[in-house]
């Protein structure tokens, strides 16, 4: 019998005996639904953290000097060396950022009020504007940041200062030696961001910050790479570190957030745990239900054997039926998962203490990566086939005479 015919017979059997497969299909699709949903949520959380982290630190991969005091090349030579290393490593970043950060007791003043700033970020709007626009702005025009005296401040800072868009604020920093310096800035926009990534953060022009700190205009403390897929950050950082010949280090942004990355790792492990547990339950369930199905179809199998279908062909037909079952379960599970995730992401969850870092504008975010879905689908299919293999082997051993005689 041709393989095409095996598939055809299996398909006919599958559609005609659909009632028998409903329970089985349901359990497999529920399993796929859970796996898919949990993974998408974990991926969504991870994506949120990485997006926020990249915006805060200036990229998914951060390149910094091994020692800040190492004999410095000129900023231009340094930049050229790093760009060549990026090119040598075969990396194609979506954007390259140059940042100066100041986090040593900066203070902003307005209307007599003062707020201590945890991190002042000097960046180039021309290269990073696209990424920074991803912040949730509650007022103002972030595009006016192309003016050098512009500043983006958080909603919390704005409230504490009593400052609004268009107001002047004074940023106080310490120069390298420790002397106080101040810079007048104009609030161009106010953004809403979660605590660790934004309550006390000011975004401003790098050149202006450099001048205030007493550094060269084109100085940058770090160079960052924004990637199209943040999941490649670890791999790319390792590759780039080699290309940088030990003069600079390249690290994925999650290494700057050790607590969060530990939590994400734990969540990922939990999701794999759920996946393993579900796989086991599905495999056992399929095995048992298939045994019952094969028992119920003893006469039918006997008839197939009586009309000349070989033992291996019987096994293949049953395995093909299991394959159809797996594909339908994956499709149904995926559809339910998308529906459920879409519904959950509509719920406003702002105010959930400690959870806000995972939310996208107050909503739970989820990401369905095709490669993850493909792996899950293959896994569920293999489990279904594995569960059906034992009963299929039993079926191929059925003698036609005994089978036809069976009640």
């Amino acid at each position: 019998m041709m393989p095409g015919m095996t598939l055809q017979i299996a398909f006919r059997n599958f559609t005609r005996n659909s009632r028998r497969f409903i329970l089985l299909g349901l359990s497999a699709s529920v399993g796929f639904f859970f796996v898919c949903t949990v993974q998408s949520l974990v991926a969504g959380l991870s994506s949120q953290i990485n997006t926020r982290g990249a915006r805060y630190y200036g990229g998914h991969v951060i390149i910094s000097r091994v020692q800040e005091s190492q004999p410095a090349m000129t900023a231009a030579a340094e930049d050229r060396f790093i760009r060549e290393a990026i090119s040598r490593a075969g990396i194609h970043p979506a954007a390259i950022s140059h940042r100066t950060h100041f986090w040593s007791q900066a203070v902003v003043f307005s209307n007599g009020e003062s707020v201590q700033i945890r991190r002042v970020i000097g960046m180039d709007w021309s290269t990073e504007g696209v990424k920074i626009r991803g912040l949730q702005f509650v007022s103002g025009k972030p595009d006016e940041m192309n003016e050098p005296d512009g500043a983006l401040i958080s909603e919390v800072t704005a409230r504490l200062l009593g400052a609004r868009v268009g107001d002047q604020i004074i940023l106080q920093v310490k120069r390298d030696g420790g002397a106080l310096n101040t810079v007048p800035l104009l609030v161009k926009a106010v953004f809403r961001e979660v605590s660790i990534f934004g309550y006390y953060t000011v975004y401003m022009d790098r050149g202006v910050l450099n001048r205030a700190l007493g550094k060269g205009l084109d100085y940058s403390a770090t160079i960052g790479l924004y990637l199209d897929d943040y999941r490649a950050a670890g791999r790319i950082a390792a590759r780039l570190s080699k290309a940088l010949e030990g003069r600079y280090t390249a690290m994925p942004v999650v290494t700057f957030m050790p607590e969060i990355s530990t939590m994400l790792r734990a969540l990922t492990l939990v999701s794999y745990g759920i996946l393993a547990l579900l796989s086991l339950v599905i495999a056992v369930g399929i095995l048992n239900i298939y045994r019952v199905i094969i028992y119920e179809r003893t006469r039918e199998i006997g008839t197939m054997r009586a009309i000349g279908i070989q033992r291996t062909q019987v096994r293949n037909i049953i395995l093909c039926e299991a394959l159809y079952l797996a594909l339908c379960s994956v499709a149904a599970g995926l559809a339910f998962s998308i529906l459920a995730l879409s519904a959950v992401s509509q719920i406003q969850l702002s105010g959930a203490a400690g959870f806000d870092i995972f939310l996208d504008r107050g909503h739970l975010s989820w990401v369905l990566y095709p490669d993850n879905v493909a792996v899950d689908a293959v896994l569920i299919t293999l489990i279904t086939l594995f569960g059906a293999l034992g009963p299929a082997r039993s079926a191929q051993r059925i003698e036609p005479v005994v089978a036809i005689r069976a009640e």
């Binding site: 007599g112 003062s114 004074i170 106080q172 120069r175 420790g178 002397a179 106080l180 310096n181 007048p184």
Partner: protein, 269 residues
């Protein structure tokens, strides 16, 4: 009487800090040919409030007035040994801050918290106890070394005939890179205006009264106006202000153990 005298002094300096000056007399002074050597003038100002031959201890009482938010007061004991460029400050009031302390030794400054029993590095440039004073305000004066004079003029500040000097820091590690300073005929600093590197007026410090101990002087009251912090009250911007008074000054020698972490820990207990 003493309270009245102190109040009068503070009022005088409120007026001084508001800019109640008589017209400058630069030309007159220079024409008379009695322009002093300003480096010597700064050295004299330093020497009058520095104690290289003895230790110094006193009780400091700080009162911070934040417009619209009330006042906050603290009391501290300050121990200085200028020849070693060291000081130790321990907070004695209020109760919740009691035992907190600062130990400066050379260029290192530690903050001690008796609750966690830990020393942490801090900077002389930081604000003292979140007030308008800075940790550097308690060190020995080194105007002649830290600054160079960029311009000068004679100016009357209240009842004092002063030299008004514009100073520029000689290095980048001086907290206030620019300063205007009023030095009276006795060589005592009567007022300073502290500026950031970019020229932003950050604070004004007034020294309305000094108390004499031997040949040296110790301010009796110091008023610090924060030019960036404050609030608008009834349509007028009122600066945040910290006033500290120095009482029971003494130049008696202190035990060497005073300027140690162990002693600060002991005080914290």
């Amino acid at each position: 009487m003493r309270i009245l005298s102190r109040a009068a002094g503070v009022c005088l300096f409120l007026a001084m800090s508001a800019g109640t000056f008589v017209a400058p007399r630069t030309g007159e002074a220079q024409a008379a040919g009695n322009t002093p050597d300003f480096v010597q003038l700064l050295k004299k100002a330093d020497s009058l409030v520095t104690f290289p031959d003895s230790d110094f201890s006193a009780q400091y009482t700080f009162v911070q007035e934040s417009p619209g938010q009330g006042t906050n007061s603290k009391q501290a004991m300050v121990f200085r040994r200028d020849k070693d460029n060291t000081y130790l400050i321990v907070i004695v009031k209020p109760e919740e801050d009691k035992g907190k302390g600062y130990l400066k030794s050379g260029n290192n400054l530690w903050f001690y918290d008796p609750v966690s029993r830990r020393f942490t590095f801090t900077s002389a440039k930081d604000r003292f106890q979140n007030m308008n004073a800075r940790n550097s305000d308690f060190t020995r004066s080194n105007l002649a070394g830290d600054y160079r004079v960029t311009s000068s003029t004679r100016q009357k500040l209240g009842k004092y005939d002063c030299w008004l000097l514009d100073l520029q820091a000689t290095s980048d590690d001086i907290t206030f890179p620019k300063m205007r300073i009023w030095i009276d005929a006795d060589g005592l600093v009567r007022k300073t205006e502290d500026y950031s590197y970019s020229g932003q007026h950050v604070r004004t410090v007034a020294f309305p009264q000094y108390q004499q101990i031997g040949a040296r002087y110790v301010p009796q009251t110091v008023v610090i106006f924060d030019k960036l912090r404050g609030a608008t009250i009834n349509g007028t911007f009122v600066n945040e202000r910290t006033t500290y008074t120095i009482a029971r000054p003494s130049l008696e020698r202190l035990p060497d153990a005073t300027f140690t972490k162990t002693w600060l820990e002991k005080l914290g207990e």
